[in-house]
């Protein structure tokens, strides 16, 4: 009986072991050949690079005054800052929170041996806390001898934006957001006004008070 049942199971769910062996062999072959691109693949890569170079040329021919910005992601929103204010971007490794500081100050971190304060513009702009964010990048900003890090989820890259593309902020935006926002591009990137941010004295923390 028992044997009969075993036979029955075998018939019901018979495994084609030969096919399994064949598939395993194929996978092994694929692994040993891994990394070595075929000549067609290499040619395709080269071709796409050539195209991208060609497009860069088209961009230079863009009419009007242009603004070089660094685009970054934060809480699912796209933002951009003028590249002239950016010293560098840097991965956020450690962050030490400082008690007695405003909520927008996340803490301090060390960038190549230099202490740098990090602010959270979500708090600054009263943006909704939309789920968890990576918060593993900082954009180091400097102007007028002042230097601080701005926290970001991801840095998209540097791009030029035509000034005429930047539209005025919506009238619904008021308060601090209206103050620091330069405008929004056609592709929904919020361009921050760094000049105003650096000139705002509310950002400066009175150390004497804090100590």
């Amino acid at each position: 009986m028992a044997e009969a049942e075993v036979n029955g199971n075998a018939k019901r769910k018979s495994i084609n072991w030969a096919a399994v062996h064949r598939r395993m062999e194929a996978a092994a072959v694929a692994l040993t050949q891994g990394g070595v691109s075929s000549p067609e693949a290499k040619r395709e890569i080269l071709r796409s690079r050539a195209r991208s170079l060609a497009r860069e040329t088209e961009k230079e021919g863009m009419p009007g005054e242009r603004l070089e910005v660094i685009e970054f992601l934060l809480a699912g929103e796209r933002y951009a800052v003028e590249a002239s204010y950016v010293r560098e971007v840097y991965p956020l490794r450690e962050l030490v929170s400082i008690p007695g500081t405003p909520a927008f100050v996340l803490g301090i971190t060390s960038v190549r041996g230099k202490i740098l304060s990090v602010i959270d513009i979500k708090k600054l702009f009263d943006l909704p806390e939309k789920g968890l964010t990576e918060l593993d990048k900082i954009i180091v900003l400097q102007a007028n001898g002042m230097e601080f890090g701005m926290h970001a989820d991801a840095v998209v890259g540097m791009r030029p934006i035509a000034l005429e593309d930047i539209q005025s902020p919506l009238p619904t935006l008021t308060g601090i957001r209206e103050r620091y926002l330069r405008g929004i591009t056609g592709d929904q990137v919020a361009v921050l006004d760094m000049g105003k941010l650096f000139s705002d004295k509310s950002l400066i923390v009175h150390e004497e008070v804090e100590i």
Partner: protein, 676 residues
Amino acid sequence: MKLTLGTKRDRQAEGMSARLAAIVESSDDAIIGKTLDGTITSWNQGAQRLYGYAAGEVIGKSISLLVPPDHPDEVPQLLERIGRGETVKHFETVRVGKDGKRIDVSLAVSPIKDFSGRIVGASTIARDIVERKKLEGQLRVTSLYARNLIEASLDPLVTISPDGKVTDVNEATIKVTGVAREKLIGTDFSDYFTEPQKARQGYQQVFSQGLVKDYPLTIRHTSGQTIDVLYNASVYKNEVGEVQGVFAAARDITAQKQASQYARSLIEASLDPLVTISPDGKVTDVNEATIKVTGVAREKLIGTDFANYFTEPDKAQAGYQRVLAEGFITDYPLTIRHKDGKLTDVLYNASVYKDVTGKVLGVFAAARDITERKKIEEELKKHREHLEETVQQRTAELTRVLKEVQEAVNVLSASASEILAATTQVAAGATETATAVSQTTTTVEEVRQTAQVAAQKAGHVSENSQKTVKTAQSGKKAVGDLIEGMRHIGERVESIAESIVRLSEQGQAIGEIIATVNDIADQSNLLAVNAAIEAAKAGEQGRGFAVVAQEIKSMAEQSKQATARVRTILGDIQKGTSAAVMATEQGSKAVEASMGQSSVAEETIRVLADSISEAAQAAMQITSSSQQQTVGMDQIAAAMENIKQTSTQNAASTRQAESAAQNLHDLAQKLKTLLE
């Protein structure tokens, strides 16, 4: 017949007629005259004697009166023949007399004519032939009878011619001589005797004297044997008286001689004194006993007076005279005187004895000595008297005993009644017992059959149990194999789980590597951004550098995308391995459960096998027990059969006892009645 008178011729005729009539009238034969139509006209004395009718009774009537009814046509036929002129002679027929008796007659019928010669009637002369016919018959029978007598005679008979030749013999002669009839006839008569001369003299004496009587001769048989005979012979003559020869009859006297000797010796041997006396009272013969009782010799006794030897000679004389007168006397008491004076009381039985012609030859007297008897009678008388006394004593005793017996009988009667009652009860009980035993026997027989069936069934169960035990053992082995197989499967499944876990761990290592690669790609991206910033700061000189930075950025992004894909694949692998681990875990658990179940099954089968084994043993025990039981039941059945027979016998015995008790009871009653 009418006669007319007148003329001389007439007168002559008249005289003749009268004579004729007298002749007719005196004839012994019946002479009847009648007319041609059968009317009787004359009837003589002979007719009256023969037929019984008187003349007056029948004249004028029809002759058919005499004819028997079974001969109706006879007379008319006869008369017709007569009418034609014929004469009928010696016609033998039958007639009926007045008393209705049939009479054999011989008829002679003649016609009667008138003067003119015309036939006017018939005359019948009838002769009674009854006697003649009888005589004829007798003669015929007598002759045959005589011859048969002669032949059948045990005595040799012979006829002899005057010259001494044998002319005829009978069977006895043939036998006694041993010579055939043909050879005997014609031979000399004297040849067949031991003394031929004497034989010749014998028959010559017959011829001369006419007969001889008791002429002794001895015939010699051809075998040499001789037979003593006495011859009686006489001449026989023809009708005219001429002597034709001698008829001689011999008698074999051998046996007679022997008988006479035998009788003589009987007489001599008799203890009773026997004597024969002549009619004048002389003793003619005596036997030994007479000689003894008288003491006188035989020679002296014979010829002397019988009466001389008794104490009362007159009484003795009167006795034998009475015998002569009356023929016999019985128990005539006399006393014989012996020569020496001794007296003997005797009782005489005597009778006359005669010769063949009946002439009294003398008295035969037998005496019986009663001296002893008298003595005995005396003694008997004494005894009888003594007996009388004894009887009286005994009777008195008996009366007393009878009383006791009566009492005993009363007790016996009562006891017999009780015994009868008890026996009747016992008989009823025995019959019930017999019935009960019979029923029990039947029941036992049924139980015996049931036990046999049970034994057979137990045998079947035992066999089946043995088979089941084998099956259970093979089942146990199969389950053991199954558990072993399961254990192997369990081991395999565990190694599969380990392999899969190892794979999963390797997938994790790959994930770590991929994270590192992703980090690198990220940093590369940042570097590219920083480079681009620097290029932008450098202005027109940084333009080429910006393109390179852009290219690096693009590669970093592609790396990131690749790592994301690898990460996705790794997630899939992780899910797959988790599922596989879970599946193997389930498989492992299933195997364990199966093993557990198999163990349970094994245990169950073991228990089952043990139980079946026990059951088989029990069945075997039951079989043997049943067989013993069957044997036991057989014994019980036999025992019951014995009991049945015994109880049947008991019942029968009891019935016999009952009947015996009944008899006893009846006997007691009868005794009681007798005694009361």
